[in-house]
């Protein structure tokens, strides 16, 4: 049933964001620490487990796929409610500060990709990142 997929997605999202909140409290940061990321990892991990055991099939998958497919329209709706006017009214310093940060980050993408390629990632098995 499709609703099983949606419910499963809801479960992962809620648990992930809840863990993110707890981590924030634990570290003392007034922000959600990686909630969405943790939820994604949960979905990947639990999803493949359920898949292997035959719990996740056909219709159930569609419940997750639908939300994945409406992602772009949701992002468009998100773009339409950014405070673009307020941002531009912030003046030249705000514009320049934001722009500088973005330009540097763009320029660093190929640099870090190269570092990552050199790194022999296979010889690093002791890392256990939840």
């Amino acid at each position: 049933m499709i609703i099983y997929g949606v419910a499963f997605l809801g479960f992962c999202t809620l648990v992930g964001i809840f863990i993110g909140e707890l981590l924030g409290k634990l570290i003392g940061v007034p922000a959600n620490v990686g909630g969405v990321g943790i939820a994604m990892l949960l979905l990947i991990g639990l999803g493949s487990y359920l898949n292997k055991n035959g719990w996740f099939k056909g219709k159930t998958e569609q419940g997750v796929e639908f939300w994945s497919a409406v992602y772009i329209p949701i992002v468009v709706a998100m773009a339409a409610q950014q405070n673009v006017y307020g941002a531009l009214k912030g003046g030249p310093m705000a514009i320049l500060a934001g722009t500088a940060a973005v330009v540097i980050a763009f320029a660093l993408v190929p640099v870090l990709v190269r570092i990552g390629n050199k790194e022999p990632s296979a010889i690093n098995p002791a890392k256990t990142v939840g």
Binding site: L9, C12, G16, G20, I27, V29, P30, A31, N32, V33, G34, G35, V36, G37, A39, M40, L43, I44, E65, W67, S68, Y71, I72, P73, V75, A77, M78, A79, A80, Q81, Q82, N83, V84, Y85, G86, A87, L88, G90, G91, P92, A94, I95, L96, A97, G98, T99, A101, V102, I104, A105, F106, L108, V109, L112, V113, G116, E119, S121, K127, V129
Partner: protein
């Protein structure tokens, strides 16, 4: 008649949101196909249109939520709000390649630290160029260049003036908007076309809405990889901003 229409549209906000965004998508793909022969993604055009409309919304109403402040379009607020956005981002993780994630794991974490650090330095440098000299203002504006959440969180923690906090939020918003707008154009130049570079991109940029929008406009397949690392960025910024970064700046400017 007008009243009844408004009642339906606002009462069924989420549904109106589906309709409005659906029409926007259709128009965007039409523009993409007829004017750019599909070279500029329809989704990129849709996001640009959204940002443009939100500017118009802000200019018309003086509100802070773009289009949502126009009553007729308030349903978009539900559709594009944090709840459904996060729900859909998590859904994109379905079908992610675990091996790709593992391969990019270490550089992803490195990208997070480099991203927060360089954005902060960029912000501080610009603030200095504009004549700010006190550690609190410099740190707050630098934190704003990290994300528009890190800015005010840091500012509140170290006691920045509300004027400086507003500036830091504006800097963060500019960053988010620029990432959405520029990513599809810059992507071919920086090799942003595979999961590993998307993980790094997410860690370097960090602004969740910017990364979510920018990758959607570039290649939807890359979205989960970028968003996964970006999810940790704001928290890392909030952690480092009022502590380590502030202490460093205070050490430098005294």
């Amino acid at each position: 008649m007008y009243e009844s229409m408004m009642k339906v549209i606002t009462g069924y906000g989420l549904i109106s949101g589906f309709l409005i965004v659906g029409v926007t998508m259709w128009v965007s793909y039409w523009i993409s196909n007829t004017f750019t022969k599909g070279r500029l993604h329809g989704s990129a055009i849709a996001i640009l249109l959204g940002l443009l409309l939100s500017y118009v919304g802000g200019a018309l109403t003086g509100g802070q939520k773009g289009v949502v402040d126009i009553p007729l379009l308030s349903g978009i607020g539900l559709l594009g709000g944090a709840m459904l956005r996060d729900f859909a981002i998590v859904a994109t993780a379905f079908g992610v390649s675990v091996d790709e994630l593992k391969r990019a794991g270490f550089v992803g974490v490195l990208a997070l630290f480099v991203g927060v650090g360089t954005s902060f330095i960029a912000g501080v440098a610009v603030a200095m160029a504009f004549g700010y000299t006190d550690a609190v203002s410099l740190t707050t504006i630098g934190a704003g260049a990290v994300t528009y959440i890190v800015g005010p969180v840091t500012g509140a923690a170290i006691g920045a003036s509300s004027e400086v906090m507003a500036l830091s939020i504006a800097a963060g918003l500019i960053k988010a908007i620029l990432v959405m707008v520029m990513t599809p154009f810059v992507a071919p130049l920086i090799g942003l076309n595979n999961p590993r570079s998307a993980v790094i991109f997410g860690g370097l940029m960090g602004t969740s809405s910017g990364v979510a929008g920018g990758l959607a406009a570039t290649d939807p397949k890359l979205v989960p990889y970028g968003c996964l690392t970006a999810a940790f960025y704001t928290a890392l910024g909030c952690l480092l901003g009022p502590s380590l970064l502030y202490l460093i700046i205070r050490g430098i400017v005294g």
